[in-house]
């Protein structure tokens, strides 16, 4: 088993919204392990993770450790946001950012940090590699809002929250203009 609980084994016929951990829960600062088995338990968990993301207020991404599962799985879907370039729903297992270019300050919030948003500097464009839920290789370049979401979620896998990367309100007077 790639997860250490028996509740994930067996038939899983319906999706479930999982409880989201909130800071300062110590599991949010742990480092997640790579997924080794691409089996039905993984796919069932990912369905639940997505369902949990969808019910989160305005959420465009989620990472497995946010529901207490310390494995390297994230979902990002910014396709609902107007005027944002995107790659649809991204289910990323064992993701790794291989290229970072530029930087852009933007405001972030987190399902695991209620009632707080802050400015964070992120790479403007990234290229990342990952596996999909069946183990096939994904290699994507993205930018702007979507790249921000991917970086935010991958940070969760390394035990980092956007709180760890806050920049001063006052020194970010002019966010760089987004290139379209």
């Amino acid at each position: 088993m790639w997860m250490n609980s028996t509740q994930w084994s067996g038939e899983h016929s319906f999706m479930a919204v999982l409880p989201v951990l909130t800071y300062p829960d110590s599991r949010l600062t742990g480092v997640s392990k790579p997924v080794e088995r691409f089996d039905s338990a993984l796919r069932d968990f990912i369905m639940d993770l997505e369902e949990t993301m969808r019910v989160g207020p305005g959420s465009v991404g989620i990472a497995a450790p946010q529901v207490g599962n310390l494995h390297r799985i994230v979902i990002v879907d910014v396709s609902e946001k107007k005027g944002v370039s995107h790659h649809g729903k991204l289910i990323l297992v064992n993701p790794e950012i291989v290229v970072r270019q530029g930087s852009l300050v933007g405001r972030e919030g987190c399902l695991s940090v209620p009632d707080f948003t802050g400015n964070v500097s992120r790479a403007e464009r990234i290229r990342f590699r990952a596996r999909d839920m069946n183990g096939a290789i994904i290699d994507i370049q993205c930018e702007g809002y979507e790249a921000r979401a991917v970086q935010h979620e991958i940070d969760h896998l390394d035990g980092l929250l956007f709180l760890d990367r806050l920049s001063s309100r006052r020194t970010d007077l002019f966010p760089r203009k987004k290139k379209s």
């Binding site: 989160g56 207020p57 305005g58 959420s59 465009v60 991404g61 989620i62 990472a63 990002v76 910014v78 946001k81 933007g106 405001r107 972030e108 919030g109 987190c110 399902l111 209620p114 009632d115 707080f116 948003t117 809002y145 921000r148 979401a149 935010h152 979620e153 309100r169 006052r170 007077l173 002019f174 966010p175």
Partner: protein
């Protein structure tokens, strides 16, 4: 326990924050949100304080430090209202040669458009001979970016640089 706003100002010097907050902590007060910043040569503090006593009792804690450091302060009872952050959806950056009326005119136009300002920072930079004014506003609006640009267009035509951008927190 009651909430108070402590507003404090004085010539900038080392130790203001440490001494004030230590005195409050030692007296059993707890702190809420705060904004502290150097404006010109002055250090300023707006600090939410929760304390069992009344404003006079809180004042008695701050008074000895204020006297020793040459600070002035004011204390008002407030509603705490933590955990109710409003999220800004528009940012307005303004800069130009410093002159009277920039803030008044920008904010009046925004007010007429129903923009609620949540946060405003401004600086005077440049040289004494050629000062520049730099301001960043974050607020809430139901207007579009294009509409706000039109509202502010008269000031732009006078040479004030204004950028309006949509703020949309990425929640993940």
């Amino acid at each position: 326990m009651n909430w108070f706003m402590l507003a404090l100002v004085g010539r900038d010097q080392t130790g203001i924050v440490a001494r004030i907050t230590q005195a409050l902590y030692a007296a059993g007060a707890t702190l809420g949100e705060a904004s502290m910043i150097r404006l010109g040569g002055n250090f300023t503090m707006m600090l939410m304080v929760r304390h069992a006593g009344n404003a006079a009792a809180l004042s008695a804690l701050v008074q000895p430090i204020a006297k020793a450091m040459g600070l002035t302060f004011h204390i008002d009872p407030i509603n705490g209202e933590l955990h109710r952050h409003e999220q800004p959806n528009v940012g307005i950056s303004v800069h130009g040669a410093d002159r009277a009326g920039i803030v008044a005119r920008v904010t009046s136009l925004l007010n007429d458009s129903g923009v609620n300002i949540l946060n405003l920072d401004s600086d005077v930079g440049g040289s004494e001979a050629q000062p520049i004014y730099v301001m960043r506003i974050e607020g809430q609006t139901t207007r579009s970016i294009e509409e706000l640009n039109q509202v502010l267009a008269p000031l732009v035509s006078e040479g004030i640089r204004i950028h309006v951008d949509e703020l949309d927190a990425m929640v993940g």
